[in-house]
Every structure is written in structure tokens, then in C-alpha cells.
Amino acid sequence: MNKIKWMGVVLALLVSSTCVTAAEFEVVSEGLYNPCGVAVQPETGHVFVADSGNLKVVRIVDGKPQDVIVDFGTDVYGKGPKYQVGPLGIAFLDTNTLVVGGGGSPDGEEKLYAFTVPAVGEPAIKASEANSAMNLAPGDEIKGEGNFYALAVTNDAVYVTCNGDDTKGWVSKATRDGNKLASFERYLATKEAVEVDAPVGITVSPDGHLVVGQMGEITVPEDGLVTFYRPNDGKMLANFPIGLSDITGLAYSPGGQLYAIDFCWNDTTKGGLFQLIRDENDAAVAKPQKVSELDKPTAMAFDAEGNLYVTVVGSGEGEDTSAAGKLLKITGLK
């Protein structure tokens, strides 16, 4: 690609900005167990959380979690500290259709689900009552996929970060048929593109590009990448070694600014919320600017008004995080 063109592409990808607004924080809900997904319901503005360690998806009403979908499978992530996980990424396709990425089954059997969510006051449904559920089974030469960590929705597809085959680092693509999933296939081999492990955070930029946060090694600080791909053909457009350690979530504010959360596995005291800002002098460089520290952030979503919701695992007694999780609301971001 010639240099001028490449600069042009990059300029369009990240909005430059010089100062970060003072943000305000509010704890919306406490007592969650390793929450790993958050989504804002269109029209109602209700916030849904994957209360992962409790193996369910909940709706937060007046700060209290109400069960919406229960009885997901369970698995353990990490070798110590260890985190119990169930459902991971969640995203709405429309007001009542919620897609949920599973994290509680062995690779290959892990499912991506589509549910019609029960209305407020109606009883919770079970994971087995999904409208549809699809997996990515192993093949002769290819490993099965699992840990569907985060989801990004475009007009015609759902892109899903996966954590099965570490030689490929798949972002998979699902299509829909009404309130069901129509197809689910491996799509972007991010590890082949950037030679670094683990796509985890994902979002769609205002101009329609897929933005993927590559986590890198959890034992290596500051090796995270933010990579832009064209969704229709999977072409990589730009790759920023951003200087964050373990990006678990990415989201654009309604004002078009890109934010990331960093779990920072090797030293979780360094984790937090960051605004990603393009260097004014070098279009190939972007840097994180810390908005705030966060205690093991896992997922993020903006509502239409520009309020940011972030889930954090939090810290409990020793390694016990079974009631340490929180849903935070952050206001005042650009």
C-alpha cells in the first residue's frame, strides 16, 4: 500500500483529541460474580449484564440484578488466579433479540446463542431455551472454538472474538435470520494478520470498520494491539501497538471517541479506562490516555446518551471474587 493512501486510512480511523474530559463514576450494581459482558437494550435503555460466574444474564433494575437467562455452562479461566466463567459477550440485535457468547463449554462445543429476552416482570428463561445456538466444531486440521468473549454488531452480521485456536486467533462471523442465527463461521485469522495472540475486545467504528483489541500474552505487559479491519473482505487496514496490556473491551462514544478498558493481568493495579488518541504528528501512532483506574474491567458499552457502562470483576477475599463484581456507570466522557 502506498504511503499517502495508508496515512489517509489511518487519519479516518481514530479521531484526534487533545484533552480528556473529567469523568464521573457511579456504582450501579454490586455483588456480581465475574461479570464479563454488558449491553444496553435499545428503546428501553435497560442495562443487561452477563453475570458470568453466576452462569446467567441479568437485567439491572434500580441497581438490582433480575434474572433474564439462567443455567449456562461453566468453566475456569486462568491457572491462578482462576476465574469461574459462564456466559461472556452480550449484544442486542434488536430490542428483544439478545446474542450471548458462551464461555462455559469445552472448545468446539461452545455456543453462540440468540434469545428473545423476556419482558420486565416475566420469569427468566433457561440457556437451553435459545431461539438458536451455533458452535464451531473442530475439523481434521482445525481446533474447535470457544470462549466467545465479545460481540460487535453491524447491519448484517455479528462479529465474535474467539479463544480456541491460538495459531489463528479467530474473529468469527454470524449472520441472522429474524430472531435466529442463520450461520456462524470462522472469519478473520487475526493471529496470522498481526502475529500476536488473542482477539478479545471488539467494536465497530463510526465509519463501519471492525476494531479489534488483541490481548497479547497475559504474562507480557504493554503488548496489546488495536487493529482495524474492513468487515466485507476482512482486510487489515491498520494496526496500532497501543501500549496497553490486556484490552478486554473497546467502544466508541456517541461523540466518536474510541475508548478501551485494560484488565492488565500481570499487574491489575494498572488496569483502567483509557481514551485512545491519535498522535498529531504521526498518523501511524496512537496512544492511550488514562481516564481512570478500574479494578479488573471486563466489558463496556455506551448508551445512546453517551453514558458508559463498564463491568469489573473487582477484588474479594484472596482469590474469591464471587460477590466482588460491579456494574459502573461513567458519565461526562466525550
Partner: protein
Amino acid sequence: MFNRGFAVLAVVLLAVGTLSAEEILDLKVPAGLKPLKIPADNPLTEAKVELGKQLYFDPRLSGNNEVSCASCHDPKHGWADSKDRSVGVPGERLGRHSPTIINAGYQRFQFWDGRAGSLEEQALGPIQSPAEMNMNLDTLTKKLNAIPGYRNQFKQVFGTEVTAENIGKAIASFERTVLSGNAAYDRYKAGDEAALSEGALRGRKLFFGKANCSACHAGSNFTDNGFHNIGVGIDLAEPDVGRQSISKLSGDRGSFKTPTLRDVDRTAPYMHDGSMATLEDVIEHYSKGGIDNPQLDEEIFKLDLTDQEKKDLVLFLKEGLASQNYPMVEVPTLPE
């Protein structure tokens, strides 16, 4: 492929105002490697690299005038040691096998457990270690200041007498020039379809696919720079806990840094304890799924490779990753 095209020229960060541009060494990294980042406070110059080379090969840096860096990181043995565990000054065996210093300039961490970051930081360690070179730094700087050849070079390169810090900087600069790239693998990747034999091509496919090697040995230096437990030595009565001793995380028990595989055919024996004599032994270990233990990495599992697949993988490592311009360096004339 805009992110690959820049691999020819190293990124040289100029220290503010200390050196003029023409003194800076324009390090050409071999094909297939990424530009090498040079720390701003230790720019590469030809004279500094030359000085570092002399220090690297000079046994006078040790307490008994017998051990140099090259004793354990020998260019004739892939810049590693042919012994399973190296022997230092008093004839004492060290706790771990000497890793190669090839491409160490690219590493995020030094040592099997990653306890050092920069090469500058690392270099003064073995000199002082009682089991390795057993030399006090004050004694060493006095000793080298008394050698006019060294004294003059330090004056010329750093504008100072011999200092411990600048010994570290010179050695680190030399190490940054010990690079291995331009292997058959790189030429194949760049489009030369005849670069790899059929067997090595099959091995390549296994390496980046079914055999799962690239889950950890990834990128142009064949390492993710991370730490993993693959089970080596974990079945001993008192296993080396590796990275855990630094990170204090229980999940890191028995984890070691993923080593580069460039020119790996020359660096036998293998692993942090030198317990595997051949690449065939290494492949056998992976094929059976390592040695089971609670911290065994998820990416290590039974591969059940056929005999042919094992041969192909070994062939890929030997033929595919051997540099065409192996960084052979002869012992330089040492200053008097």
C-alpha cells in the same frame, strides 16, 4: 502488506545531541526480522559495538581470568552452551541451561524467568555472580582502566573512564548485532516457493497448524515473549518454579520464557534445564502432550504425531529456521 515492508532498516533513536548522525551505526537487520528498537540512552555506534565485542570475549572480566560471556554463550554452539547446565568460575554447575543470545535484542524479558528487562541491565549480572564470572565491579573497573587499550576506547566511545554502566552498555550494543534471520522460512514467506523442501513445507504447515507450535513460538522471532508451563522438569521432587518466583502468581508455577527458535539446530541441548539433547526429543515431548501438572498451559495437549509428521517438524526447524548468514563471530584481538 504495509506492516511487513519496513523490515530492512532498524529504527535508530538518536540520543539528544550526544552523537552526530554519521557515527550512528545503521544496523541492517536480516530479512524476515522486524526493525530493532535501540534504547535512546544507548545508541549503537560502530566503535561501541567493537568495544562490546572485545568485552564479551574477554576472560579477564572474570575473577580467575578464565571465563568470558562466550564461555557459556559460544558462537560455535549457536551462542548457547553445549553443556546441559553451564559451568562457571569455581567449576560449579549453574541451576539452568545457558540460552542463546541470538536475537536477544528483540526480547521483552531476559532470562528463563524474565527477571531482567534490558540487555544493559542483564550484562552486569553474570560478571558479578559468584557461580558465573565472580568479579566485583569495582575491581573490574580498576582492572580494565589499567589496560590502556580499554581505557582509550572507553574515552573515545563514552568520553569517560571505564565504568560499570558503560561496560553494560557496550556489551548490550554488541549483543544487539548478533542477529539471525534470512532463513529458508523467510525466503519462502517472501515468495520464493523453492526455498523449503517438501518435507520442511509439511513441517511448516504442522508448526502453524495442527501441532500448535505457533500458539507460542509466534512472530518473526518465533516467540510470544511470554511465559508458559510446558511441563519440562515439573515432575522433579523440587521443580524449578520459573516465572512464579518473579511474578508471585500461582498460575506461573513452572512457566518459562518462550525461547526463539531461530538457528535452533545449533543450540542443543534444549529447555531451561538442558534436559533434551535433540530436537527429536523436543518433538517427542510435545507429541505426548508435555508433562501433566495443574499449571500446564492450555495450548499443550496430546498431538499424537505420526513418525512422518515428527520428521517433518524437525526438518522445518533445522532447515527452515537456519540463517543463511549465521552470525559467526571470531574472537577479536583483545586490548593490551
